[in-house]
Homo-oligomer: 413 residues x 2
């Protein structure tokens, strides 16, 4: 099935908010084997909304829409949809009661504008929204479907996972089981991998597809199986995963789909190891990535962001002489930072970074983008000096990813 | 002038990458007084690209395009643009030499596929790209313009700021000076502010517009002046800013446009104060936000991410008895964390957080989303227990913003 996404919101068109909804939705639709061929971001005007729906319906059968469903007066989406699909607005007792419960659960009173959230077009099927007050609406006409969802990311995600994807599968007549297995691979470029896997790809049964999903330094390999016999598909997928493991060996660092920090966490958890970080230029971003993973407290003890030299010395025990002789961005300092946090936080593994994120602070010797990274697992330590070029946030992001990758490399061996 | 943005990239349509380019571009175009009325995200197919350009040109005069300009074979954008505008591909010695210099500057050799980056349509004006190898291309036809830029955010931004915006201004015949002043306001809702500013808005000279740009807890008020006499405009703007300060008093916490962490930094810098954070549930995200600001090392000394109770005790000196009696998510613990990092890092100000980011770990007493926050400035301390509901990342994000706001509140008084 081909799908399009329409995102409604003036705040997106003036650049106040970055749209993360459509990427998330696209990834979920893609996992169902459906193609998202167009994403349109438009404003909250009746004609614009109608034109966007008509254009989308001229190309595809399923349209997913987010935003424009708030209780304030400038949200015209609901009446426009009602008109487009030829219905009239009615008061839904069901939505009203669900919203009463929602407010009561948070110890709040409902006011008039939120009461209006219970008004819905009589031509749609309302799908319950357990985590907000805007109704999710399902419209069908002439073999086409439009699903309107709130723009709040959490509400949209709960709706998609809760009911919308399942209904779309029924709409598409997709009775096939669809299963995915992802392997995360490093030390290979996408093109290098594709060469190594030529024979493997040729040998795949027709019910299985292989997708390459690269991010800097990593290629995620996703195997998708589709068919009516789920146990059988699962068995074939297991065999294919084993075959990939056999071909790629330790270049596969994680069996599953997660972030680099998620992979680090899974490896640490499996081995019963603990981690701490000592961060200068990454400024806490590695700790932030690691703690973004639910359950990270099982292996992550903490971090010292040692932005000043004073903190490097006093909290991490870095030698003042080393700071003076080699500078903060140097092998001896980053090495001592890793050792220091390992000792201070009494952990098995450590990551340390020290670099120049810019835009100022570079020298001819150590230009902006120079980053020293050290990773420890007990007595073993690896160090590397890397150079990135780009903005401050890009350098911080890349140094974070590189540091996590170095720890995985050390752990996997 | 009305503009549209076309974003090209299969990686966006499968949800592998979140598009941050269009929000950034929209904000820049909006600052020029131009409206972005449509953003289309499409794939890298010739017909799709041509249809998107034709649709956009049927509605507006200026189209900005990003992506699809890489050296790999699946990037068809350049030849499609060439065909659309009726030209032929030529080899640009100028782009080639610029790319040679770019590679030499990074100690790299140019290969065949990057050599192809110097092939450009003869019907466009090439704008130099000093931070990458893909050329920026300016096409004009029948009073309409299309600018094609690389999808790499850093390259796109340098191009926009470097030459593209200025050329667009000339294209639009915009000879007016355009000046902005932003004030960041808290302790007010958008609607409350708009009521307080009714008279002020009515009194604004016609050359000045006021925009409300809300983010959670904060409203940015942006005054835009447009006219031919720049010194005069600047003077009027200064007067209006002063008037706003007079009306809103200490609810204006920052004179300028930045993030909350940027505002915290500016206030600290102005007052010669230093800061450290002690983070449990926010996991280093506050430190990350603060160090995302260039020059933050002038006031930020560091952070302790105290994820385990052991670290809370040993590094921050939290009392074991308090942890046992009240739990980690409690007033005494967060208070001791702030005091501990203040002492350990020898700073003037501190922020501490301890909460339950979920999805697990909640109790009836302390459900997921419960966060204790303490902020210190020397001897003064404020504490607050807040409740957020949503995903783990949302709770971390909101707790971060709330903590920064509490520190601003304490500093401003």
């Amino acid at each position: 099935m081909k799908c399009e996404i329409i995102v409604i919101g003036d705040e997106l068109l003036i650049g106040q908010v970055v749209d993360t909804n459509s990427a998330w939705m696209a990834a979920e639709l893609n996992k169902q084997g459906w193609d998202v061929t167009h994403i349109a971001t438009i404003n909250d005007e009746a004609d614009t909304i109608k034109d966007a729906i008509s254009s989308a319906f001229s190309r595809v059968d399923a349209v997913l829409m987010t935003g424009g469903l708030g209780p304030t007066s400038d949200d015209v989406t609901k009446p426009v949809l009602c008109q487009y699909f030829g219905g009239k607005m009615i008061f839904s007792q069901e939505v009203y009661e669900q919203n009463l419960r929602y407010f009561a659960g948070r110890g709040l009173q409902m006011n008039e504008s939120t009461r209006r959230q219970a008004e819905v077009p009589d031509v749609c099927t309302v799908i319950a929204n357990p985590v907000g007050t805007a109704p999710v609406m399902w419209f069908e006409r002439e073999g086409k479907v439009l699903v309107a969802m709130p723009g709040v990311p959490h509400e949209m995600r709960v709706a998609m996972k809760g009911d919308v994807l399942e209904r779309l599968r029924r709409f598409a007549g997709d009775n096939d089981a669809i299963l995915h297995r992802t392997l995360m691979v490093f030390r290979n470029t996408e093109s290098g991998l594709s060469e190594r896997l030529t024979d493997f790809e040729a040998s795949l049964p027709s019910c299985i597809k292989l997708a390459y999903l690269p991010i800097p330094g990593v290629v995620r390999l996703r195997l998708t199986a589709r068919g009516s016999n789920e146990p059988e598909l699962s068995k074939i997928l297991d065999e294919m995963v084993e075959k990939l493991h056999h071909i790629l060996g330790k270049d596969v660092f994680y069996n599953g789909d997660t972030t680099l920090a998620g992979a680090v966490g899974a490896i640490l958890k499996e081995r019963g190891l603990t981690l701490a970080t000592a961060e200068s230029c990454t400024g806490g971003n590695i700790a932030h990535e690691i703690t973004a993973i639910a359950g990270s407290s099982a292996y992550f003890k903490g971090a010292v962001v040692a932005y000043s030299n004073e903190v490097k010395q006093q909290v991490l025990g870095v030698d003042a002489q080393d700071l003076h002789n080699y500078g903060a961005v140097s092998e001896p300092v980053v090495s001592a930072m890793a050792a220091g946090v390992l000792r201070t936080m009494n952990v098995d593994c450590a990551i340390a970074t020290s670099g120049i994120a810019g835009p100022d602070g570079g020298t001819p010797d150590k230009p902006v983008g120079t980053v020293w990274i050290a990773v420890n697992c007990r007595d073993e330590q690896r160090k590397e000096c890397v150079h990135f070029s780009g903005s401050r946030s890009y350098i911080i992001e890349r140094a974070t990813q590189r540091a996590l990758m170095m720890l995985i490399d050390l752990l996997i061996g």
